[in-house]
């Protein structure tokens, strides 16, 4: 989809697990690795804290992409949270796809506390994807538009 507005900057919400990915983001920062400022991080205690409603609400209020980052499977601070998150997000993404909403607007990545570089790379890639997809038009609330 072509970008309608040359000045358009995507808004991206990243839900990051407190124990791995948030620390990964920190590491990316302290390692001075670049990733776009369009990514707004929301710290959650675990990737399985992310209720599908959070993701839809983010889109409602104008997000163009939502990414969920958690510990690698097997490394969850709470033993199994990310296993549950994995199933939940798979089903949710599949449902969004079923409703015809661009599947690439949502993503799950496992980023550990040591993977600052992976965090930066993931975010760069994701932002790139959202740039190609353009503005989120299908899943937003018209009232929130300015």
């Amino acid at each position: 989809m072509p970008v309608s507005n040359a000045n358009w900057k995507p808004k991206i919400v990243a839900f990051c697990c407190n124990w791995c990915s948030y620390a990964g983001a920190d590491l990316a920062g302290s390692g001075r690795m670049q990733y776009p400022a369009d990514v707004k991080i929301i710290r959650v205690p675990c990737s399985c804290r992310v209720n599908p409603l959070f993701i839809l609400r983010a889109f409602e209020r104008g997000a163009d992409g939502v990414i969920i980052c958690g510990c690698h499977p097997g490394d969850c601070h709470y033993t199994s949270g990310n296993y549950f998150a994995r199933r939940r997000m798979t089903l949710l993404f599949s449902m969004l796809d079923y409703l015809g909403i661009e599947r690439d607007r949502t993503r799950v990545e496992w980023v550990s506390a040591a993977e600052g570089a992976k965090f930066a790379k993931t975010m760069n890639e994701f932002v790139e994807t959202i740039y190609t997809l353009g503005e989120n038009r299908k899943l937003r609330d018209i009232r929130c538009r300015k």
Binding site: R61, G62, D141, R143, C144, K146
Partner: protein, 338 residues
């Protein structure tokens, strides 16, 4: 009385310069929506899935906008409707329902949002020719062959007859390409319609005792418990009803201001009367009773005997559990005979 051929109907609608809301097909439902070329007109459908009330009193509308900064509030009103439009193909029952809405919204103090839409609308009525199986408008003294509108259309096979009753209606009809017709052309049609409606299963309900005088008696009837048992508390009946007008006012934070909007509400919902200390209609029995008491007792008691049921039959068709106002009238009416 004027007439035109049925073939010309669509071109006649397209020829009107005003926006036209007409019953059109949308998916497998029929709703009143702006008519555009390519949309399928459904003048045959009695008891459309959505009612014409939606044009005058939409399911939601923005009332005003607020901007809050520090301790100050800035208020901007939403503009009222200011363009004329045509509401096409309104049945007699639905027109009577609009009269019911008028009683509510146009009584002092006037609701200006509704009033503006009402004023700018030209309503073209459509006489029924084939009743729906659930119609029971006859009980409320509604003549399905004579909608109380600005302009009335009578379908008669391959022609339509039309007559205007108000200045608005006459002005609209003057722009139509019609021919002169005999003044009594529709007399026989009307008679036929009356006969058909008279023969319907729910055409002769006993409404005696549904008035303010018997308010307490109806309210206290032991029948309500049984009647309301299967009620799910959904809002289907209220939202498909052409006269249900209860509304809620809510605020929505758009991130850059507050929109205050009004939306339909339903007496069936748990938070309809919920206050900080609880609700005065705690179970479905009270909620269910409220709806029917309002239609059959409270409203007539306040409005010179005018019922706020028009017998359109939509709740009979729509209720997931087959509960409806006819069952209520029969159950409560019978209780009285004993």
């Amino acid at each position: 009385m004027r007439t035109f051929s049925a073939e010309k109907l669509e071109s006649l609608i397209s020829s009107m310069t005003l926006p036209v809301y007409a019953p059109v097909e949308e998916g497998n439902t029929v709703i009143y929506a702006p008519y555009e070329a390519g949309k399928k007109l459904r003048l045959d459908k009695v008891g459309t899935d959505k009612t014409p009330k939606e044009v005058l009193f939409p399911q939601w509308e923005t009332l005003m906008h607020f901007r809050m900064e520090g301790k100050t509030i800035e208020l901007t009103e939403e503009e009222r409707a200011k363009e004329d439009y045509v509401l096409f193909g309104v049945r007699a029952c639905d027109m009577q329902a609009i009269r019911v809405l008028d009683k509510v919204f146009l009584s002092d103090p006037v609701d200006t949002y509704y009033a503006a839409r009402r004023e700018h609308g030209i309503i073209v009525g459509l006489a029924c020719d084939q009743p729906g199986k659930n119609c029971f408008c006859k009980n409320f003294d509604i003549d399905p062959a004579q909608p109380d509108t600005d302009l009335v259309l009578w379908p008669a096979g391959d022609t339509y007859y039309c007559e205007a009753y108000t200045d608005k209606g006459r002005a609209l009809m003057d722009g139509w390409d019609t021919e002169e017709a005999d003044e009594n052309a529709v007399a026989e049609i009307k008679e036929n319609i009356a006969k058909k409606y008279d023969a319907l299963p729910f055409a002769h309900l006993n409404l005696t005792g549904f008035d303010g005088e018997h308010l307490m008696e109806k309210f206290e009837s032991p029948q309500w418990k049984k009647l309301s048992m299967a009620c799910l508390g959904c809002g289907t009946c209220t939202f498909s009803c052409p006269t249900c007008q209860c509304y809620d006012i809510r605020d929505y934070d758009t991130g850059h201001g507050i929109q205050r909007y009004r939306c339909w509400d339903s007496c069936m919902y748990s938070d309809f009367t919920l206050m900080a200390h609880g609700t005065n209609r705690p179970t479905q029995l009270e909620k269910y009773r409220q709806r029917f008491m309002h239609k059959l007792v409270y409203f007539p008691s306040r409005n010179e005997g005018m019922y706020s049921c028009v017998g359109c039959g939509r709740c009979i068709e729509k209720c997931p559990m087959n509960l409806n106002i006819v069952k209520v009238i029969k159950a409560l009416g019978e209780g009285e005979k004993e």
